[in-house]
Symmetry: C2
Subunit: 480 residues, 2 copies
Amino acid sequence: MSVRDLFGKELKVVNIGLSSFTDAVEAAGAKAVQVDWRPPVALEPGVRAALAGGAAEVEKANAKAMKLILSGRPFLVGLEKASEAVPGLKKMMLLHAGPPVTWERMCGPMRGGVIGAALYEGWAGTPEEAEKLAASGAIRFEPCHEHQAVGPMAGIVSPSMPVFVVKNEEHGNLAFSTMNEGLGKVLRYGAFGPEITERLKWMENTLYPVLKKALAKLGPVDLKSLIAQALHMGDEVHNRNRAATSLLFRHLAPAVIRTAAPEDGAKALEFINGNDHFFLNLSMAASKATLDAARGIDASSVVVAMARNGTDFGVQLAGTGGEWFTGPAPVPDALYFPGYSKDDANPDIGDSAITETNGLGGFAIAASPAIVKFIGGSASDALRHTRRMYEICAAENNAYGIPALDFRGTPTGIDVRKVVEKGVFPVIDTGVAHKKPGVGQVGAGILSAPAEPFQKAAAGLARRLTPKKARAVKTRSEDK
Amino acid sequence: MSVRDLFGKELKVVNIGLSSFTDAVEAAGAKAVQVDWRPPVALEPGVRAALAGGAAEVEKANAKAMKLILSGRPFLVGLEKASEAVPGLKKMMLLHAGPPVTWERMCGPMRGGVIGAALYEGWAGTPEEAEKLAASGAIRFEPCHEHQAVGPMAGIVSPSMPVFVVKNEEHGNLAFSTMNEGLGKVLRYGAFGPEITERLKWMENTLYPVLKKALAKLGPVDLKSLIAQALHMGDEVHNRNRAATSLLFRHLAPAVIRTAAPEDGAKALEFINGNDHFFLNLSMAASKATLDAARGIDASSVVVAMARNGTDFGVQLAGTGGEWFTGPAPVPDALYFPGYSKDDANPDIGDSAITETNGLGGFAIAASPAIVKFIGGSASDALRHTRRMYEICAAENNAYGIPALDFRGTPTGIDVRKVVEKGVFPVIDTGVAHKKPGVGQVGAGILSAPAEPFQKAAAGLARRLTPKKARAVKTRSEDK
């Protein structure tokens, strides 16, 4: 009896190089990749068989999904109030990062963000009132991802907030994200109070109209091109966005001068110049617009969302509709800022892993050795992370290239089958929030996504594969 | 009898690795450096002995020179008209790139630049008149380098042109450069005529006052910090300046909005946004200000200028005063644009090799694989070029680091003794001008500096070393 892998292929030889040789070559900074073989991840009974049996069907669906993803052309087309642009965002509703979560299960920083948003919207006059209101059920909480939106960290989107409107010009779908608030005490890390409300109001009343007018004058901004250029300039557009922010700034500034009152325009540009992460929310919305085009392709094992609400880590596949596959969000092994430790850290949080899902962030970290250096690693670590991600992806990006790899396309389109077969989990660049609301960022790091959401996603896909094929292979399979 | 090298050290073992091993490791993208041993460069009789005998004196002088160079802090402090700021720039005088050259020996693109400048200054009404004027001796030609200035390609500085004023805040010396005109038909590639005059006039009458006012509002701009950041963003600030231009742009724009008439400000920012090389002239002036601090240190073998006038390649040392050591400028083996070949190329031209002299450009090309890719090479070629330059430098830079080498400081401070001892010549990123005036850029490439200027510079230094010591070693030396 032959042994088959998840792809329906007969296993013949597993060629594992001598690790001492790889070590020696890697010590010299070489490209050699040690095939770090791990046993396949445990799966529910029948899942392995169903996936192997449906391999042809899945491959076909994945080819379609990757064609849709790689052909995406996300453009920044404007800015609008969330209440007017984001589908289904009703009064007394807040959107949040990650899979669905109730107030009771919400982590500290997300609760902080909810309190801050309630104060900003005027739903409550004090943090205590806001907390009561939230606990009363009067505020409806729904995931950003279920409203064509994404948000970093807590990811709170409230009706009065302005949002970037990103359009996938190739496929017509839209995605939304708020504007990045900068560093320090900010809503996305769960801060609330007068300082936060004042900044959000300034963003609503000054920054928003300045940028809206400038954009109207300029016309759509090609985000795919900006991101591709930024990858040649040391960004991976998740934890490092300095180049992309600079390129966007250059593009916007002449139009800002022509359309804004001078002091408003100057303040708006200073705000962007003061925040190298300004582009992050656009990188996320561009990734969301790109990936959403591949939703709803039956049988596809390609991941279209990885998102964390600070409690759960959730995954969605192209082939499994709106279903979330979740497991506990891990606490990152990060570089903690002085005075903080892992004890202070909230579990991983934010929709920003949409960048990794789109072949950016940790998947493109070889383009951004500065990030690895910041957390104590080396340039060769950065190369190693990206190289490993090729093992679990369905394709190489056609637009996003990595200079240090001779502009090889970034690993793009996570195939959940490869993840569970190889035991290699997506690498995610992340900022770490304090577990208490309002403290802010306490560290930064690189983490591996947890196994459980991918195990469940594999099972979820297996359940949906054409039953005939799934049954046909069950007889010749050995499930763990 | 023992054999001594130029540094006075007894030679014991030359360890040359198996090149097949190096090739294999390099094929895998490794850091391994093949020690490409070449016979020492031929030197005039007595030179080798004098340098070896004066080794201690030279080392001491070089330590001083490198301390001055590495401690440099170049700031952009303002803009002025060249006639008012550049020392010794008189009426009917033009500054040019490279070592001194007469009209008779001037190459095509430099003649074109002279004609263009004469038209711009109103010294002549037609190109023919300008040519006659130049040939008559009525225009005095002097090197930029002899007026604390630097210019890319033809490097023409005329009295009416605005110049950046860069101050070395650590040592007090100034350096000057014109503003970069952009690409296409431009004076620095030898173009002249109404279009060129019009652009230069706009730069004088609009761009200059806009930037001057913005800078006055902002205060000095730290160029060392900008360059250091740009090296982490894919620039080597010679042939690639996109990041540095972006960072400068971000810094300037809010002040431009606050101080300029809106349409002038918008046009000025659009001009900078349209030219990724805008920062080049500042990178050059920053390098000039940094290196000039180390001029006039007796016995130092550190190179303080490499410059080409399109006819001659010239070198100046810290220890040899204002003396130029020259040889014919080579025609680059470049990637030629469609329709052009090496037959069209002018010999190497421009003061921009001041960047390499300061540990940037070709010396920092490992930070900028996109440049190597553009001319058909790979990321590992870029690493190889930078690694080789460590062999001929006196120090590693304290501010300029290379991400792909784990932020190792760039090779800085070319030691002419190492160049002639190892037969390794400085690698220079270069644009190639058509040999006829006004055609413009026809290619880009990476070239090795020619041997002759370094052979002469070594001899020039040897002649100046304390005669007693030089004589003392003559008896035990074998010169070629």
